[in-house]
Amino acid sequence: MKNVKYLLLGALFGIILVKSEVISWFRIQEMFRLESFHMYGVIGSAVITGMLGVLLIRKFNIRTLSGDPVVIPQKVFTKGNIYGGLLFGLGWAITGACPGPLFAQVGSGFTVVIVTLLSAIAGTWVYGRVKEKLPH
């Protein structure tokens, strides 16, 4: 039952993604063609809001619902940030979706995106398989 809150928050995220047309392949094309501010506005204002939220949590030492101190995992730089980032960018432009919108596209009735999702799972699996051989 403790996971129901994450299901609800995920549903809220899904509704926002669809209503703001972030899951639209067309919007991603428009963004990468520099022909609309929409996507830059969404991502930019999300980052600023997230930053303010984290700042407030740190400034006032706000604790979690269960009373624990908030822990923010540190990202460690690897060359994968570059190579993997470029590969993901290529895929983002083809599918018109990052992983969140992939799930939302399926929910919006574009059921064929299940195939894309399965291929993304396969991609993740292959990464796990060849990880040691890749530059990091």
Binding site: V4, Y6, L9, G10, F13, G14, I15, I16, K19, S20, E21, V22, I23, S24, W25, F26, F32, R33, F37, Y40, G41, V42, S45, V47, I48, T49, G50, I57, L65, V70, T78, N81, Y83, G84, G85, L86, F88, L90, G91, W92, A93, I94, T95, C98, P99, G100, L102, F103, A104, Q105, G107, V115, T116, L117, A120, I121, G123, T124, W125, Y127
Partner: protein, 188 residues
């Protein structure tokens, strides 16, 4: 109720998405990130003997509930708040896509590409199989996606996430402007 049927502008959607970062931290000390769900699915279903998938994925099951919620939320929007209007795109984008062979502009996605009859075609191979593979492989190699790096990582001022975000964008610009137009003329 009218608001729920209209598309939402960026200044409504962006701050709402940003709020998910502190909300997840406060309700359970969870870091916002979607692509990890793909790893958990691998760890749960076909871990093999691969060390990368040997961990207790059940401890991360909140993430699977979250992406299940994303799918559910999108379905609820479709059922209750469907506006049946085409996306209001820049006419220049429409003209360029038409020149590349895209025909349908009346939904969120081009219906002439994203339908089941394309699965076994060369277009399906590119748009679903190759595209999906790059998303899954690339995000894991990069250690996160738009949510984990661009929103969570940048919100918490982590420079590796800035590097990753710049690379996401670079990959997208290259594909959209240099590769995809030619590819689509041939595929569509």
């Amino acid at each position: 109720m009218n608001f729920l049927h209209q598309p939402w502008p960026w200044y409504v959607a962006g701050p709402l998405i940003g709020l998910i970062v502190p909300l997840l931290l406060l309700i359970g000390n969870k870091a916002f990130g979607i692509s990890s769900s793909l790893r958990h699915i691998c760890a749960a279903c076909f871990p093999g003997k691969i060390p990368f998938f040997q961990y207790d994925w059940k401890k991360e099951s909140w993430n699977l509930f979250f992406v299940g919620g994303v799918c559910l939320g999108a379905a609820l929007t479709l059922v209750f708040f469907y506006n049946n209007q085409p996306v209001q795109l820049n006419p220049a984008t429409i003209a360029a896509l038409k020149a590349s062979g895209v025909q349908e502009f009346d939904e969120l996605m081009p219906g002439d590409i994203f339908n089941w009859s394309r699965v076994a075609s060369p277009a399906g191979l590119v748009f679903f199989i190759l595209g999906g593979f790059l998303v899954g492989f690339g995000t894991r190699y990069a250690g996160g996606c738009t949510s984990g790096h661009s929103i969570m990582g940048l919100s918490t001022l982590q420079w590796p996430s800035l590097v990753a975000t710049i690379c996401f964008m670079a990959g997208g610009f290259i594909m959209t402007n240099l590769v995809l137009p030619h590819l689509m003329k041939w595929l569509l």
